[in-house]
């Protein structure tokens, strides 16, 4: 598993609304950081639940990469996420960067960097409701 493949799997999970392939590729104890989900998730079970919540909060999602750099163990990319929010029916556009680490045992870390201030998936309903 290369870091770029990890990023591709991650993005495909959001776009196809099916996280199973990504979950299968996670190394034990993999770390997933997604500001929209507030907390850090560690391990397949936590990440599966986080992705389930993230997918439930959107009806459509795409992640377009505009720049990527990679070494054997880590990839750093920047791009734009476009998500149709399930509750509001509005579209949110979020510039993001992502760091992925992967190796023989699978994906060990995916960290997204984006400003989630107006777009919490839960816990801040009123803020989210006013967005867009």
């Amino acid at each position: 598993m290369t870091p770029s493949q990890a990023i591709a799997l991650h993005n495909a999970a959001y776009e196809s609304r099916d996280a199973s392939a990504l979950l299968d590729a996670l190394a034990p104890g993999c770390l997933y950081e997604m500001p929209l989900l507030r907390s850090r998730m560690v391990g397949r079970a936590e990440i599966a639940e986080g992705l389930r919540l993230a997918l439930a909060a959107t009806t459509r999602c795409s992640l377009e990469i505009s720049r990527s750099r990679e070494t054997d163990s880590v990839a750093l990319v920047e791009g734009v996420m476009t998500a149709r929010l399930a509750r509001e029916g509005t579209t949110a556009t979020l510039p993001f960067a992502m760091v992925a680490q992967a190796g023989e045992s699978g994906i060990s870390r995916i960290s997204l960097y984006l400003d989630a201030k107006p777009y919490r998936l839960w816990a801040d309903g009123p803020v989210m409701a006013m967005a867009g």
Binding site: R67, E78, Y113, D115, R120, G125, P126
Partner: protein, 498 residues
């Protein structure tokens, strides 16, 4: 000097950490673009960039930047790092914690002609933006004498009530507070609950003139709940009336300048009274274990103090009035030290006495209050509500003789109240009620949701609303809250009896 992208990034980070604005300025191209989420918009051009960079540098201190993974291309670098700093001028949080701006980030930096042409940071700003900061001190709001205790107990949100700080929220879940109140015992800083103190030979007669209920035979040691109305019949507040001494009445009141109102009415009225607001700042001890907790520390017979009775006694050796009253709608007491001089001594003694019983310092528990229909009215936010509309007809004694608001209330009773207070079973989860929510019924009649909350007893959302008098129990209405319009069914109050 020609720099690689990575060298430029490290130079930028080093200069930022050193607060060296001139060095940063040298790094950027004249037409550079910079995206800093904390600023919120793209900056274009050297002047704009430097304006924001200087502002950022001056607003922070003890800056440290650590770059981790960094991958360089021909003219760019993408890097992941961590940033630590302390805010200048924010002061600390009320508990002394410094306000910090610490975050992890990814940065993309592009070089052109040896200078930075583009710098874009990616980070989540919500945990970074300061929540508290130094400001004009709220001179119109007094500190409760228990302030230090409330802070130590973890108070994180206050309201101003009777121009006094009123800790509402402590940093724990609502259900933890609810369980403490309904199963153990809680202590509330209600130093904001002020007393309109009426003293003199005519104290009882004058108090009877102020309130809508007949208290002309109120015995020493008795308490009553009543409304104080203005001449139009609008509720000013709904105090608990105490008669701790023969010649003294306290109206322990809600959020209104009641002692000024009473003092003004007393002037030239012929009543032989003096009115003031004494230095009496109460605490509430509420919950089923309150008697066990108070027994060892209250000199008087707390076991024998019946509901809506009070006694002058000592608590932890401090002179106080203790009343069997409170805002929980269940077993509870209020302690009114006759001076706040030893307020924290009293607080600490009560904390100690409560330890064996699992005492928790909380704010008033609005979840339980709404379940029990224990509310509060304030003149400036009561929608012009009169006692008949508030569901308090039994607390209006129109035949007792003259009192403030009697003529208006007589007329309202004759004509019938236009509105009524009802319970609502509201669909779905609710956001926090920051202001009253509008309500409509099928006939288009307007109403106002004045209280809305999750009921732990019913495990659902409930509310209390002021609606048209024609609305019936069982009717369906629509509540328009900030997140959605949802259905609600009109029901009776209280939601919970026991």
């Amino acid at each position: 000097m020609t720099m690689t992208p990575t060298q430029a990034l490290r130079a930028y980070c080093d200069a930022f950490a050193a607060g060296n604005v001139a060095a940063i300025a040298d790094l950027f191209a004249p037409d550079a673009v910079v995206d800093l989420p904390l600023v919120g918009a793209r900056m274009t051009g050297h002047a704009e960039v430097m304006h924001e960079v200087e502002s950022a540098v001056r607003g922070l201190k003890d800056i440290r930047v650590q770059i981790g993974h960094a991958i360089e291309g021909e003219n760019d670098v993408i890097a992941e790092g961590a940033f630590w700093s302390e805010l200048v001028g924010a002061g600390t949080k009320v508990d002394g914690t410094p306000e910090r701006a610490d975050f992890r980030f990814v940065v993309v930096l592009e070089i052109k002609d040896g200078r930075i042409a583009r710098l874009s940071e990616y980070l989540d700003t919500k945990p970074v933006k300061p929540w508290e900061r130094q400001r004009i001190i709220p001179t119109s709001v007094r500190r409760s004498p228990y302030w230090d205790g409330s802070i130590a107990a973890g108070a994180v949100e206050f309201m101003a009530y009777n121009r006094t700080t009123f800790p509402m929220i402590y940093s724990r879940t609502p259900y933890e507070d609810y369980v403490a109140l309904t199963q153990r015992v809680t202590m509330w800083d209600v130093g904001c609950e002020r007393q309109a103190h009426i003293k003199g030979p005519d104290a009882l007669a004058f108090a009877d003139y102020l309130v809508a209920r007949d208290i002309s035979r109120l015995a020493v040691g008795a308490c009553r709940y009543s409304f104080v109305c203005d001449p139009d019949g609008q509720i000013l507040c709904d105090p608990v009336i105490l008669r701790p001494w023969e010649d003294t009445i306290w109206l322990s009141h809600g959020d209104v300048d009641l002692h000024l109102w009473a003092r003004g009415l007393a002037m030239g009225s012929g009543f032989d009274v003096a009115v003031c607001e004494p230095d009496v700042a109460p605490l509430q001890i509420q919950g089923p274990l309150c008697v066990e907790m108070l027994r060892p520390i209250v000199e008087g017979p707390v076991d024998d103090l019946k509901f809506y009775r009070c006694m002058v006694t000592k608590v932890a050796g401090i002179e106080a009035v203790v009343s069997h009253t409170g805002w929980s709608g269940a077993l509870g007491f209020e302690i009114y030290p006759t001076s706040s001089t030893r307020a924290m001594e009293l607080w600490d003694a009560l904390l100690e006495a409560g330890k064996p019983h699992g005492l928790v310092v909380t704010g008033p528990n609005v979840h339980r209050a709404v379940e029990k229909n224990v509310t509060d009215t304030a003149y400036f936010t009561n929608s012009g509500m009169n006692p008949f509309e508030a569901g308090g007809e039994r607390l209006v004694d129109l035949d007792k003789g003259d009192f403030v608001g009697r003529e208006a209330l007589l007329k309202i009773r004759e004509q019938g109240a236009r509105r009524q207070t009802v319970g609502l079973l509201i669909e779905g989860d609710l956001p926090r009620l920051e202001w009253f929510w509008p309500l409509t019924d099928a006939a288009g009649r307007q109403g106002t949701v004045r209280w809305a909350m999750h009921s732990f007893a019913l495990d659902r959302s409930v509310g209390i609303a002021l609606v048209d008098a024609a609305v019936k129990v069982g009717d369906s209405v629509e509540v328009h809250h900030p997140l959605a319009t949802v259905k609600a069914q009109v029901t009776t109050l209280p939601f919970v009896e026991d």
